[in-house]
Symmetry: C2
Subunit: 317 residues, 2 copies
């Protein structure tokens, strides 16, 4: 009786059962219809958690920082969930595993839930799977959901954009990221952290960031720059405070609801478009006529755009 | 008689007329059906140019390097086209304009064609518009097409992936990019340039890159690291030579044809998916029933995935 099992899974998840939450996220990760059904069921119970997205180049110490931030939130008696978006490259295994060890201090704490998701292989698209997982964490009663992505570009900011607050983590020497902010290749986040702040170049870095921020348009929220040394916990209380202030600010301004409404609307379109695309790909794979069409493109008989038109016509689109 | 005009545009483009090429790319950029028709017409004449994609963080001197590389190619009597993908942020205008000035040394040379394209606003998707523009440049008889993107992530590599050869341009201090390569967040390119090589930290940078490359799987092509000081032309001849060697290598291995076939196939699917999405967006905008559906998502009555399903059902998908 799978329906009964799912019902009990939803109940256990809403009651805060960690194993139920882990199972539910696995269903989403595997694109199992039961996972989507579960999100449907618990969705009315979402919207309560504070969702914070953290991004930044690899090696700046994001996981250590999230570990320290988790401790801070636990000391304030808040329940925490961490969702790490993990680029599945054969290169990366060791490096990320090393990072995870710091977070594992919290593995035995029943008030903390930690989960990685692979950035490739999620059928519905990573950004979509991220939101679904964050919704499940929210529904399970976590007070804070931290979403972590590794990267230095707009694509990464787009994933953490599901958060109410976006934190960019840099370290002294993060010149490429500063240049990306300056050139407008990457959006300005809500909070900037300079981690590894014991480094002698920290103040140079902070000045560079200030310079970039001063070029931007005047806004009601002044982006704070927080210096942390996450490995020792330094500056982490201040970061927690700034996250709280940002949240209070967007609630007061009414932009929290606006931001969430805009994100949810985009999400619906993203999901619909991803499904259309997946449907198209399923229909064209192993179709000998499509294969012949693609061959004509490769042999320069038929251009890609005309081939796309033929493909959609054949598909009844 | 628009048909006659277009026919003459195609003829002039194939004859190498720069104004015809500029006009054609504007049609593509504006998503004008005449532009797509033109690509269809000239497509059989493509596949001859050597297409090189260059990417890297802002501020490393990519435009200066491309200017110097253009000079090198002109000295070898090759015709050159440069396509700069320009992130249209209000922040960036000044910075990029500054870079462009170096390229303007070539503005009066009839053997050189230089064009920027905005990274937002291209309706069919930037990556698609980039390929169409590169095909037009190829058809117009250019020997070398340089595609330039600004950024530090996989999204940028995906755009320059239309190239036969992908060059990543860094400078001393590009720590974030090195970390991104190391973590597998960004793919390994075919050639790595360390520009601004007069900087005292250049050798440290080169050693770091070597370290990252040594972690990768053994491959038949050993990624060369080229030190340049583009502003003085230093190292640019060596870069031109490495580009030639890479091209010869992939031709000999048969991977040039493979790479192009794979890219063209992906392109057809990308174009078809982008059109499906655009069609969906056009149909849902200003539809009061869809508006009501989205409102139910925002008020947490209906989850995003179920809303996407309803939207596709209503759309007949």
């Amino acid at each position: 009786m799978p329906a009964k099992t799912d019902e009990s899974l939803a109940k256990r998840l809403l009651a805060g059962d960690k194993r139920a939450l882990a199972r539910a996220i696995t269903l989403i990760e595997n694109d199992d219809p039961a996972g989507w059904e579960l999100v449907r069921e618990v969705y009315p119970q979402t919207g309560r958690a504070r969702i914070v997205g953290l991004t930044g180049p690899p090696g700046v110490g994001k996981s250590t920082l999230i570990g320290a931030l988790t401790k801070e939130m636990r000391d304030a008696d808040r329940e925490v969930a961490v969702l790490s978006i993990d680029p599945s490259s054969p290169f990366t295994r060791g490096a990320l595993l090393g990072d995870r060890i710091r977070l594992s201090d919290h593995f035995l704490d029943s008030g903390v839930f930690i989960r990685s998701m692979a950035s490739r292989g999620a059928l519905g698209g990573l950004s979509e799977a991220t939101l679904q997982a964050a919704l499940l964490m929210d529904a399970s009663g976590k007070d804070d959901v931290f979403i972590e992505t590794v990267g230095v570009g707009q694509a990464e900011i787009d994933i953490v954009d599901h958060g109410d607050t976006v934190v960019l983590v840099l370290m002294p020497g993060s010149g490429d990221s500063i240049q990306a902010l300056k050139a407008g290749v990457m959006e300005i986040p809500d909070i900037i952290v300079v981690n590894k702040a014991e480094h002698p170049m920290t103040e140079t870095m902070v000045r560079e960031i200030r310079g970039v921020l001063s070029l931007g348009p005047a806004a009601s929220w002044r982006v704070p720059i927080v210096r942390t040394e996450a490995a020792h916990g330094d500056g982490v209380a201040e970061l927690a405070e700034r996250i709280g202030e940002h949240r209070a600010h967007i609630e007061a301004e009414g932009t929290l609801e606006e931001r969430r409404a805009r994100n949810l609307r985009n999400e619906v379109l993203e999901l619909a478009a991803a499904r259309m695309r997946r449907g198209l790909e399923a229909r064209v794979s192993d179709d000998p006529e499509i294969e012949a069409l693609l061959e004509r493109v490769v042999s320069r008989e038929l251009d890609p755009a005309s081939a796309a038109t033929e493909l959609l016509e054949r598909d009844g689109g």
